[in-house]
Structure formats: structure tokens, C-alpha cells
């Protein structure tokens, strides 16, 4: 935990009042309108505990550090995306440098459904604001251990994908049970790759879960795990659709519940994710989160139609059972050996099929992790996509060298990149060299290589 006495909470409020996926899409301009009204009317930005910042644009380089955008970063991002990611980076910079106590990037569009490879928009997201920010912090502030706690009602499958094999990033997501909600994943057995087992923790909660069971999860699972992991920086993917009025989710969390959650988590930086009850939830939940971050009294924040929610004893015991199971999984985190079915020689591999709901793209991936005794190992993703109407998005090979890679993995990965450039089946070949912060992309049709350096 950072020294925080007397420091302010940084806020970036960027509603992107001129950006929408489509006019009636839930991810549209007025999503933060009433939140703006509430925050401005309460005079939040004038409080001495709060400092408001104007966002800046993230660079294509910042995005290439985290994502493989096919074919290029410029094709997958608009200015709105760059601003949302840039806002998270700016606040993280201020916090890591000790100028702010903590921060909240109230930005849109959201990002937690964006995976490592980006071929289009899925779950309203193109690029993963939190993951880009985390990789920026590791590069520019030497921060090693990071925890991301995703409190959106939807499983943060994009963030999970990006940090699946990363032992230094703890990803915890609680969400409405994937059997009842998009994206249909996030079960307890999704626990991370062989080198990062249990560093992915999924807490599926039954529809109708109230503040009471949520606090049980926080007190008995999330906080003890954070305490063991000892992150240098805690990120909260602050989705607000667990609220009892959300049109997409079916949970029963209140603004008070969100505020208490924030107070207990003590995140360094919260980044807005989903939440589509733009009138009945967002103004109150956002107020609660901001006040809790700033250490101000949030007990007067209440929804006009607030009523007591009772959950069934079955639901409560269901949640307890899940918490117990995950706690045992966490305790055994270093004793697990890779499933032999997935091990092929020196590689751990898995086949993945990804659907981009917004853009109607089907992507198939073969993901291979180099099993190395000295480091987490480099990762390759062989990806092929079919866009709607049978158009193909081309096949690409992506090679990612992690920050803490050993020299032999680095050399092997570089060699693999060079060899793959000669393979005609790949229209694009990428090398993400995180230790040297150099990102290469090769386009086979033109024979040209693009190089991005920080």
C-alpha cells in the first residue's frame, strides 16, 4: 500500500458525449449523462479531496505492448478508445509516482472483454483499458505484481485471456453465473495457465445475490487472497451492472454495496466498465465509488427506490460453497502440475474459439506456451478469423515475449518470428518483445515490416 496521507483522489470524467456503437446500443453517448448531472450537482470536483484531470490519448505503441491488433492498431481503435486507455494510463502514472492517493477513470468505451488478439469489437469492447495500463506501469514504473479485481456483472474474459499465463498478475472476477449471462464463461475451474495456476480466480455468483453475500465473498476470499499475493498495485475493473436495476444483469447489489466494496478493496485505480442502468444506478453507484475512494462519508448516497433485499438461505450457502472451493484452490496454487493432455513436447497448448458478438466475427486460435524452467515462457498464438458473409480476416501468427523472459526464450521467440515471416500461410506475423519494448509487425502481401519503439 502506498503512503496516502493528505493526497487527493484523481478523477477523469470522460463521457465521450460524441461516441456510440450505434444510436440505440446500450454503449451510447448518454450512458454517463445522469452521472455527470449527479457529480456536477454534488460539487464533487470542487472537494479538496478530489483532483480532476483531462485525459490524454494513449499511443499505438502503448496498445501494441498488450494487444495484437489485426491487421494494425489503427484499424481497431478510434480516438474514443485511445482516450479511454490514455485516461487510465495518466491516472496510473500519477498514482505510481506518488502524486495521487488513488484514482477513478470514469471513461467509456469499456474494455474488459477485449482479449490479447483483437480482430473487432466484442461485448462492447475493442481494447482492454486496464491491461494496457497495467503493462504501461510494468514498463515505466517497474511495478511487478499487480492485482485486477473485476466487479462487473459480466465475466472479464478479455482480461482473463491476457493475463492467463502471467504469474505476476492476479486476476479476480466475480460475476453473475456464466450459465445465465454473456459471455457464458468465468467458472471456478478457469484458473489460469500452468505457470500461473490460481492467479486467475473466477467467482460465479447466482442471480439475485445481495450486498450480504457479496461482502462474504470480499471478506472471506478476495481480501485474504490479496493479502497473500501482496500486489504493488490494485486495479478495480469497476463495472456497475451488478446493481439491482441493471437491465442486463439480475443481481441485487446497491450503491451502498458498491461503496463498501470499494472501501474494502482499497484499489489504487478503478476503471469504469459496464453498467447500463443509466438513470437508476450509475449516478448513485459512481457517487458511492468516488466518495469511498476519497475517504469521504458515503452513507447518505441512496437510490430513490431503495428497498431491503433478502436472499434465500440456499443462495447464501451456494456462495459459501464456491468461496470454500476457491480458497482451497488458492492454497494449492503452487502444487499443481500441467494437465498432460495439453502438453506437447516443450509446449503447453490449447485450442480456443472466440466469437465477437458486436462485429459477428469467428476466430480460432491455437495458443502455445513454451514451457521453460527459468521463466514464464514465451507465448505464440496462431489465429484465423472468419468475418460475416464468409469473408476471412486472414491468418496471423503472434509471438509474445513476457517482461520476465529468460535470454534463451527471448532468442527462441525472435528466431520463431523471423522463420514465420517466410511461411506463406501467415498474412501477418507479429513480435511483441516486452523486455525491450519493441513491437514488430510483418505484412506478407507487401513484404513490409513495421517497427514500434517507445
Amino acid at each position: 500500500m502506498r503512503e496516502s496521507i493528505g493526497k487527493q483522489t484523481g478523477l477523469i470524467f470522460f463521457p465521450a458525449f460524441d461516441w456510440a456503437i450505434s444510436p440505440t446500443h446500450p454503449e451510447r453517448e448518454e450512458r454517463l449523462l445522469y452521472t455527470r448531472d449527479q457529480i456536477f450537482e454534488e460539487g464533487i470536483m470542487d472537494l479538496p479531496q478530489i483532483s480532476e484531470y483531462a485525459p490524454v490519448l494513449a499511443t499505438a505503441h502503448d496498445i501494441a505492448r498488450t494487444h495484437f491488433c489485426v491487421p494494425r492498431v489503427e484499424d481497431q481503435t478510434t480516438e474514443a478508445h485511445l482516450i479511454a486507455a490514455g485516461a487510465a494510463i495518466l491516472l496510473a502514472d500519477e498514482i505510481a509516482s506518488g502524486r495521487l492517493k488513488n484514482g477513478f477513470a470514469l471513461v467509456r468505451p469499456p474494455g474488459h472483454h477485449s482479449m490479447r488478439v483483437v480482430r473487432g469489437n466484442r461485448g462492447f469492447c475493442n481494447i482492454n483499458n486496464e491491461a494496457i495500463m497495467v503493462d504501461y506501469l510494468r514498463r515505466h514504473h517497474g511495478i511487478k505484481r499487480v492485482a485486477i479485481v473485476d466487479t462487473d456483472v459480466h465475466h472479464g474474459d478479455g482480461t482473463q485471456d491476457i493475463f492467463w499465463h502471467d504469474p505476476d498478475v492476479l486476476f479476480i472476477s466475480f460475476h453473475q453465473d456464466g450459465r445465465t449471462l454473456y459471455p457464458g464463461t468465468g467458472f471456478t475451474n478457469e484458473a489460469g495457465g500452468p505457470k500461473a495456476y490460481a492467479r486467475t480466480i473466477n467467482i460465479p455468483l447466482p442471480p439475485g445475490t445481495t450486498d450480504e453475500s457479496l461482502m462474504y465473498v470480499v471478506d472471506n476470499l478476495i481480501l485474504p487472497v490479496l493479502n497473500d499475493f501482496k500486489p504493488e498495485f490494485i486495479v478495480n475493473s469497476a463495472g456497475q451492472d451488478n446493481h439491482y436495476t441493471d437491465p442486463l444483469g439480475s443481481m441485487k447489489i446497491t450503491a451502498q454495496g458498491y461503496a463498501r466494496l470499494t472501501e474494502k478493496l482499497r484499489p489504487d485505480l478503478a476503471v469504469l466498465e459496464g453498467g447500463y442502468a443509466i438513470e437508476t444506478a450509475l449516478p448513485y453507484v459512481n457517487m458511492g465509488i468516488i466518495l469511498a475512494l476519497a475517504g469521504l462519508d458515503y452513507t447518505y448516497v441512496r437510490e430513490p427506490d431503495l428497498r431491503p433485499f433478502k436472499e434465500s438461505p440456499d443462495l447464501a450457502s451456494d456462495v459459501r460453497w464456491t468461496v470454500d472451493k476457491l480458497m482451497r484452490q488458492w492454497e494449492k496454487r503452487d502444487l499443481v502440475v500441467p494437465n498432460p493432455e495439453h502438453v506437447k513436447g516443450n509446449y503447453y497448448q490449447q485450442v480456443k474459439s472466440i466469437y465477437y458478438d458486436t462485429d459477428g466475427i469467428n476466430e480460432n486460435q491455437l495458443e502455445k506456451l513454451r514451457l521453460c524452467g527459468n521463466c514464464p515462457g514465451y507465448l505464440t498464438i496462431d489465429t484465423k478469423a472468419t468475418h460475416g458473409y464468409g469473408r476471412t480476416g486472414g491468418r496471423a501468427l503472434c509471438v509474445s515475449i513476457p517482461f520476465t523472459a529468460c535470454s534463451s526464450c527471448r532468442a527462441e521467440a525472435e528466431d520463431l518470428y523471423e522463420q514465420s515471416k517466410k511461411i506463406k500461410e501467415y498474412q501477418h506475423v507479429y513480435l511483441q518483445d516486452k523486455p525491450s519494448d519493441i513491437f514488430l509487425s510483418y505484412d506478407s502481401a507487401s513484404g513490409q515490416e513495421r517497427r514500434s519503439e517507445g
Partner: protein
């Protein structure tokens, strides 16, 4: 012909302007009797003038600001209706506060009703403590003023001699704490402001002046004197606005410049970007409290020609107070003016006395008089240039909420530093060179504020909010509500309606405004969604008559 009069705390200045040429200027000490000071200044500039040819007189004043700073006004109580949200313990108003039940939400819907018994108890409590002035302020009252109006009606019935000010009129922007402060100040200053207005009226009547009379606002716009009584707080801080407009009128058009007004103990800094004075993104700070008063972005640095210099350890520092004139002019302590005299940058005062002051100051540090004077110079220059750099940075970092706004922001740096005020002469070339700018001391710099008042253009604004789901629109400044047709209402109609109301308002103020000159300063349209369907649209827009100066001053046309 136009006349500008600036009634300051120390001096009352006036100028007479005719066809862009200064015909006469006056500078008189401000006396306790404002009427006398105004008359003296007017008599000087209107000598040999046919009063019939006088078209307009504009006043600016800091007397209300000084009144607030000195706490020389009747005590005011605030009746607040905050409802749920921020805890009330985070409010810190310099007034007696009673919190009432009741709440309105962001759409103007009542979520908690008023409790009339509670209101009556609160009022009798205030009456027992001797309060007669109250501000009634509700959260989201600009969206629905019913609660504030009901409380006012109860006050009128039970305590007909009380003065009650309502938040939705005094502070129509979204910001409840600032609305409360602005309402409180409105309540406190309305009486004394009326006295000021009456002094002006009497002065004009005595000299049989029948020209249009306006008062300068803090944002550089003006209000007709009669109507200004409705919004007295708009006129506080018009002093800095006056000198900024003065600089604008005295320097070339379309330049980016810094206006530095160096006075006895404070220096006011304003930015003019591409010929337009920069407005503060948020309202003015008055007496350490944040208000909704739109104001030019003016920063004050507590240093001036008469600031007291002393040693603090091994450093020369200045104290933000005045003990008297400079040592070289018979004062008790060394000042920046003495440093200027030693460096040969001013002809004021006695050179030997100045040298003595600097020698005494520098001796414990082993500095000669010249070295000490040089040190003082850089101290003053640095504190001003640092603030200028900070202002540009703050302007760049001002929050933006739309993509195009953010992409539009560009780095802008000034090319001119224009100095006005008594202390400007000696310091301005150093300040300019530090900022890489050209120094300019415009002619008539000592009366730039009165010139600013004389050239200010009259301005008015109207804010409209229309809600097609609920089928009505309201005009924020007037608390007016009207019906609209849910089906056919659109953005164009909203704009027409706002322009129409503005023209009507302008006509009521006797202003002649062309439709094409109306500026749209704020415009937002949002779909309102119930579940998944668009249930209606919300239109929010603000239109105003153009701000700025009516013309430039021809330099050298004395």
C-alpha cells in the same frame, strides 16, 4: 461618446471616449461617500462636453467585493434541501445552516416531499436568533424549483418583512454547494448593492445625464444598471475584468497576450487568447468560497510595488501587506519600488533613500545595494511569471468531455506582455523577457480599467432545457416553464425558442441585437431511454449576445 467609470477601493477612475479616441481621463481617491467620488470623476471628464452627445456610461466596481471580504454585511441563514448524496458534514458554508427534508432528482422529479411542519420550526428558530435574510437552496432546483418556491411562499406568509433569495435564480448551474454560496452572497449584497446603484443614479441625475447606464460583470459582459439589482453578485470582481478589457482595447487585435496589472500589494494576471479574454472554466472564488459567478480567468499574486521586503533566514522575502509608501517616498520599510529606483527603472522617489533601503536589506547577506535590488527584481518577476506559466498549463489541462474538444486543445503561448497599473513600468520588460515576449505598456495604462468599462459590450444570455417526454421546456434564468409538442419538437425548434426568448429579453433591456449575432455557447441533445426504448429527448442549450469590446482605442490620438 462613451464614459467608463471604475470605482475601486483606493481610486475612482473615469475616461471619456469618442470615436475610438480618449478625450479625457480622471483619477480621484475614492471617498467614503461614493456619490461624491463618482461626481468628482465625472465632472473632470465631462467638462466642456454636451451631455446630450453621451450615449452610454458603464461602471465597474470592487466596492461589493470589498464589502464581502470585510464581512460588513447583515448575517444570512441558509435553508438547504440537499436530499440524499454527499454527506452534509462535508458542507462548509460561512452561514447559519438549517437542513430541510425533501429531494428532487436530476430529471426534476420529486423523490422526497417537503415537511411543512419542519419548515415552520426552522423558520421560528431563525427568527428567534434574529435572522431576516435567508437563502433557500435545493439540490437540482434548476431542474425543478417547486420546493424552493414553496418554502419562499411560507416565509412570505409568516415573515413578510424577510428577504428570501432562491437558489434556482441565484445559482442556475449544476453545482449545489456553489449554488448555496452564490445564493448566500446574493442575499448579503443585494441591499448594499442597491445603495451603490442609488449613488450612481443620484450622481447621474444631479448632472442631468440621460445616457444608457450599464454595469460591468465579472465575465466582461455588461448589464443595464436597473436590471443588475437582480444579480448583484455578477458584478463583483468586475474590477479585473475592466482592466483586462482595457488591455484588449489598447493592444493589437487577435494576439495572445498576458495582461499584468501591478498594483500596490497585488498583481492581477489575465490571459487574452487570440484576442479573446479567457473565461474561467468554473465560477469565481469569493472570500475563499466557490461560486457560480462566471468570471474571466484572473489570478492574483500577492506582490506589488509597495509590498514589504524583509529577511527570512538567508533569503529576501516579501510580505503581502502594505505598511505605507516605498522607503524612497518616505515610507517605513524597503519595497520593490526602492529596488526599481536603485536599478534606474523608475524616477519615483529619492535615489539616496532607495539605495539606503536596499543596502540595509542586503547588508546581513553581504550584498551591495545593487545586488539586493537585483535579487528583489528577480523575486518579483519570478513570482509573476511562475503564475503565468501555471495559468497556461491549467488552461491546457482543463477537463474536456467530448472527443472533438480534447483533440482541439493546442499549446498556445503569449507573444505580448501588456503592463498596466502603477507598478507596471519597472517590471514589465523583465517579465516579458522571462516569458520570451514583447513588453508593452500601452498609453493610458493607469486608467486601463476605466477604458475597459467604457468599451465593454452589453451582453445577455438565456438557457433552455426541454424534455420531450414530460412535454415542457424551461428557461433557467427566468424560472419560466412552457409546454412543447412531444412529437414535433426538435433541435432546430429548441434553438429557435431560445433565440426568441433572448431577443425578447434583450428588447426588454432596451438592447438592439441582430439574430445572426447570437452565440450558442452550449448545446446538448440526449435520447432518454426507458428499458430499451427511446422515451424522449432532452435538449439543453445556452445562447447569448456577443461579449467583448465595442471598439479599439486609437493609440497616439491624445
Amino acid at each position: 461618446m462613451y464614459v467608463g467609470v471604475d470605482v475601486g477601493g483606493t481610486f475612482t477612475d473615469a475616461v471619456l471616449l469618442s470615436n475610438g479616441v480618449i478625450r479625457a481621463t480622471a483619477k480621484m481617491p475614492t471617498k467614503a461617500d461614493l456619490l461624491e467620488s463618482i461626481l468628482e470623476a465625472l465632472d473632470v471628464v465631462l467638462k466642456d462636453v454636451n451631455i446630450r452627445e453621451l450615449k452610454r456610461i458603464v461602471f465597474s466596481t470592487t466596492v461589493i467585493t470589498n464589502l464581502i471580504a470585510g464581512q460588513k454585511h447583515d448575517k444570512v441563514a441558509l435553508l438547504l434541501i440537499p436530499g440524499p448524496g454527499l454527506s452534509h458534514k462535508h458542507y462548509d458554508f460561512k452561514a447559519e445552516v438549517c437542513v430541510l427534508s425533501g429531494a428532487i432528482d436530476y430529471r426534476g422529479r420529486e423523490i422526497v416531499p417537503l415537511n411543512e411542519k419542519e419548515i415552520e420550526e426552522a423558520l421560528s428558530g431563525l427568527a428567534a436568533k434574529g435572522f431576516k435574510k435567508v437563502g433557500v437552496v435545493g439540490k437540482f432546483s434548476p431542474r425543478n424549483s417547486a420546493h424552493e418556491k414553496r418554502v419562499a411562499a411560507i416565509i412570505k406568509e409568516k415573515y413578510p418583512d424577510w428577504q428570501a433569495e432562491l437558489g434556482f435564480r441565484a445559482g442556475p448551474q449544476l453545482n449545489f454547494p456553489r449554488r448555496a454560496v452564490t445564493t448566500c452572497l446574493t442575499c448579503a449584497t443585494r441591499g448594499p448593492y442597491r445603495i451603490f446603484v442609488n449613488s450612481v443614479r443620484q450622481a447621474l441625475a444631479k448632472r442631468e445625464i440621460t445616457a444608457e447606464v450599464f454595469i460591468l460583470k465579472a465575465d466582461g459582459g455588461t448589464l443595464p444598471l436597473g436590471n443588475s439589482v437582480e444579480q448583484p453578485v455578477e458584478t463583483i470582481f468586475s474590477g479585473p475584468a475592466a482592466s483586462t478589457l482595457g488591455v484588449q482595447a489598447l493592444t493589437p487585435p487577435d494576439v495572445t497576450e498576458v495582461a499584468v496589472d501591478i498594483g500596490g500589494t497585488t498583481t492581477d494576471i489575465a490571459l487574452i487568447l487570440n484576442g479573446q479574454p479567457l473565461l474561467s472554466a468554473k465560477g469565481a472564488r469569493v472570500d475563499e468560497q466557490l461560486t457560480q459567478v462566471r468570471a474571466l480567468a484572473v489570478k492574483s499574486v500577492p506582490v506589488g510595488g509597495d509590498s514589504v521586503l524583509e529577511l527570512s533566514g538567508n533569503e529576501i522575502v516579501f510580505r503581502p501587506e502594505r505598511l505605507g509608501p516605498a522607503y524612497c517616498m518616505g515610507g517605513p520599510a524597503p519595497t520593490p519600488t526602492d529596488a526599481l529606483r536603485v536599478l534606474g527603472l523608475t524616477a519615483l522617489g529619492d535615489e539616496d533613500k532607495a539605495r539606503e533601503a536596499m543596502e540595509d536589506l542586503g547588508a546581513p547577506l553581504g550584498m551591495s545595494a545593487g545586488e539586493a535590488a537585483g535579487k528583489v527584481m528577480s523575486l518579483v518577476v519570478n513570482s509573476i511569471t511562475e503564475e503565468v506559466k501555471k495559468m497556461f498549463l491549467e488552461w491546457e489541462q482543463e477537463p474536456a468531455y467530448r472527443i472533438w474538444e480534447l483533440l482541439q486543445k493546442k499549446k498556445v503561448r503569449p507573444s505580448i506582455v501588456a503592463g498596466v497599473g502603477g507598478g507596471a513600468d519597472g517590471f514589465i520588460s523583465q517579465i516579458a523577457s522571462e516569458l520570451g515576449c514583447q513588453p508593452v505598456i500601452p498609453p493610458y495604462a493607469p486608467v486601463a480599467n476605466a477604458i475597459g468599462a467604457a468599451v465593454a459590450r452589453p451582453t445577455l444570455q438565456v438557457s433552455l432545457r426541454a424534455d420531450t417526454e414530460q412535454g415542457y421546456y424551461n428557461i433557467r434564468e427566468e424560472g419560466f416553464q412552457g409546454k412543447i409538442d412531444r412529437q414535433s419538437f426538435n433541435e432546430r425548434k429548441a434553438l429557435e425558442l431560445a433565440r426568441e426568448r433572448l431577443l425578447g429579453k434583450a428588447a426588454g433591456y432596451g438592447l438592439d441585437v441582430a439574430l445572426d449575432d447570437i452565440e450558442v455557447t452550449y448545446q446538448e441533445v440526449f435520447n432518454m431511454i426507458r428499458g430499451w426504448d427511446t422515451a424522449g429527448r432532452l435538449y439543453d442549450l445556452t445562447v447569448q449576445t456577443p461579449r467583448g469590446i465595442a471598439g479599439r482605442i486609437e493609440i497616439g490620438g491624445k
